[in-house]
Amino acid sequence: MYSRAYKTLVSVPPLLWVSLFLLLPYALMFAHSFWAVRDGFLVHQWNLQNYRALFTNPLYFQVFLRTARIAASVTLCSLLLGYPLAYYLSFHAGPRKELLYQLVIVPLWVSYLVRGYAWKTILGSDGVLNGFLQYLHITHEPIGFFLYSPFAVVLMLTHIYTPFVFLPIYAALEHIPRPLLEASQDLGADRRATFFRVILPLSIPGLLAGATFAFVLSLGDFLAPLLVGGPSGTMIANIVQSLFGAAYDWPLGAAISVCILLITVSLLFTTERLEKRRSFK
């Protein structure tokens, strides 16, 4: 159909792009993780010191664990919010469906940073939430743990990633042929049984996709802990950031990044296989 010249012309730019901005940086990161820093200078000397440090220093493991816990909490919270929302929109919203769908999507157009600062204003000591609680005389002094805590990080990330969880679940629910629900009721299943025996199993691929989004994106997040996390809310990406910045230990930072990358890729791989097994087209 197409000439060889045309094929080359259209395939070279994306190939260049991918090599220059994806493959090359990954290769550099991988190489750095096996190098070292001596007297404040990067030396290209192959070694496993960085990985050894990762597994022997308990600090990294602790932050890793906290990061996983926060990511899991965010995933759970956004599933608990996103699934019922998607279910309502798909099955019960009627003519308001389009409007509500847009309302769910609109926050995605607002800058991540703006939303972060908004949470700061809400949760701070003299923020909207504390002011409101004191105005109602429910509390008498500002509550500190609202801001600069893992709680704040989970709250902010849940707010940001719930639409990402909502979308694939909504798509999965919309794809369920409605006669299946009638068939289920016809065979004696009430709404509850129909949900657990037909709707939920058929929405598992969407649910998995959404959960993967929320978990993977939370796992690598560094802005939320930076804005609202405080010292107790520090996550692994913040460690990487400081290693590449003030601490000037690029090799160790690269080693941590390689670990995060491996975890993320294996997670994506696993959930994709699970999704494939659970889809019935």
Partner: protein
């Protein structure tokens, strides 16, 4: 005799109480009147077909019985239990859906077991009944297959087994054969009929295919624009159509419009004795009632006419002729295959086969329901 006469027994053939009784059901969607005052009874073990064009309301009526729609007015009763106020999952009817609606995440065995599982039937009983149901539809060897790997006909059988395993007294079938190709369709028709005779439960079958309705049904309920046009056995509805619409929808016919005067009906060059009252009248005459005069035998009340062959369509065992009888009158005749015909010929038919029909469907529909028009 009058157009509707005593034909179209609204009540099922057996003398016992009906299994299902539809009482003056009406259904509106917004401003659209989809069903108008439908009353119909189904006997235990009966094969009743709802026949009609798309938009006639036949599927809506089925969905009202299954419980997926609520009637605007009227009631549905099933053996002394009011059905229309129950949710679908409490009704003792089961449905075979148009596109089967098999659960894609369950295999054949799990699909068939679904109804028993939700009712918490003991596991050994489920296993036994699933096997029995799969044997009944000859699909036992596909028990572990996914529905998506099966052909249309196979999916059809699974949908049947899944519904029948619940042992309903009434099975609702919504155009179950319409997605199958012609050969498979004929095969499934006879299997379906045999199965219905064997298990002896009532079938309410929806179709737009009049041949299918004729082949399968004990009775046919013909729907038109949301009203019952005629309810009768296939033989009756074909040989004694009550309305012009019925006569034209089921099979082919010649509609002869004319005048009755002193007990004689006249239409163009044709005339015969009739019991119809004086005034305008309409008769239906099936093409196969018309014979070539020279091949003819003695017919009672014979009407004969001369006509010119306009067109001849060969159809294997028979030929369809278009006969110009003069005076702008054209009749269609179906005669045994007899070689090419041209020019003028003499034709005959028995006036007994000319059936008086009414043009007004509403007047007839209420008579068919066994009530006088209000």
């Amino acid at each position: 005799m009058s157009a509707a006469g005593a034909i179209s027994p609204q009540n099922p053939p057996s003398g016992s109480a009906p299994l299902l009784e539809i009482r003056e059901i009406a259904k509106r969607f917004g401003n659209a009147e989809v069903l108008k005052n439908i009353s119909l009874q189904i006997a235990a073990g009966e094969f009743l077909t709802l026949l009609g064009e798309s938009g006639s309301g036949k599927t809506t009526l089925l969905r009202l019985i299954a419980g997926f729609e609520q009637p605007t007015s009227g009631e549905i009763w099933m053996s002394d239990e009011r059905l229309d106020t129950l949710p679908p999952y409490k009704r003792r009817v089961n449905t075979v859906f148009q596109n089967y609606a098999l659960f894609p995440h369950l295999n054949v065995r799990e699909n068939v077991a679904y109804g028993l599982r939700v009712k918490s039937t003991p596991k050994p009983e489920i296993a036994g009944r699933v096997e029995e149901a799969l044997r009944m539809v000859k699909m036992i060897s596909f028990a572990d297959a996914r529905p998506s790997t099966l052909s249309g006909g196979q999916q059809q059988r699974i949908a049947l087994a899944r519904a029948l395993i619940n042992r309903p007294q009434l099975l609702l079938l919504d155009e179950p054969l319409s997605a199958l190709d012609a050969n498979l369709r004929k095969e499934m028709q006879s299997e379906l009929k045999a199965l219905q005779r064997e298990i002896g439960i009532a079938f309410l079958f929806v179709t737009h295919d009049q041949d299918e309705a004729m082949a399968l049904s004990d009775r046919i309920a013909l729907l038109r624009n949301g009203a019952l046009e005629q309810v009768a056995s296939p033989r009756e509805i074909y040989s004694r159509p009550a309305t012009a619409y019925t006569a034209e929808f089921i099979g082919q016919t010649n509609l002869l419009r004319g005048e009755v005067h002193n007990g004689v009906f006249r239409c163009g060059s044709l005339q015969w004795k009739t019991a119809e009252a004086s005034g305008g009248a309409l008769f239906s005459l099936r093409p196969e009632a018309i014979h070539l005069a020279d091949s003819s035998f003695q017919l009672p009340d014979t009407v004969s006419f001369r006509g010119t062959i306009r067109q001849q369509v060969y159809a294997g065992a028979s030929e369809l002729l278009e006969i110009d009888c003069g005076g702008n009158q054209t009749l269609r005749a179906r005669i045994p295959a007899s070689g090419p015909l041209t020019g003028q010929h003499e034709f005959v038919f028995s006036a007994d086969y000319a059936v008086p029909v009414t043009e007004s469907p509403t007047a007839h529909a209420s008579r068919a329901m066994g009530r006088e028009p209000r």
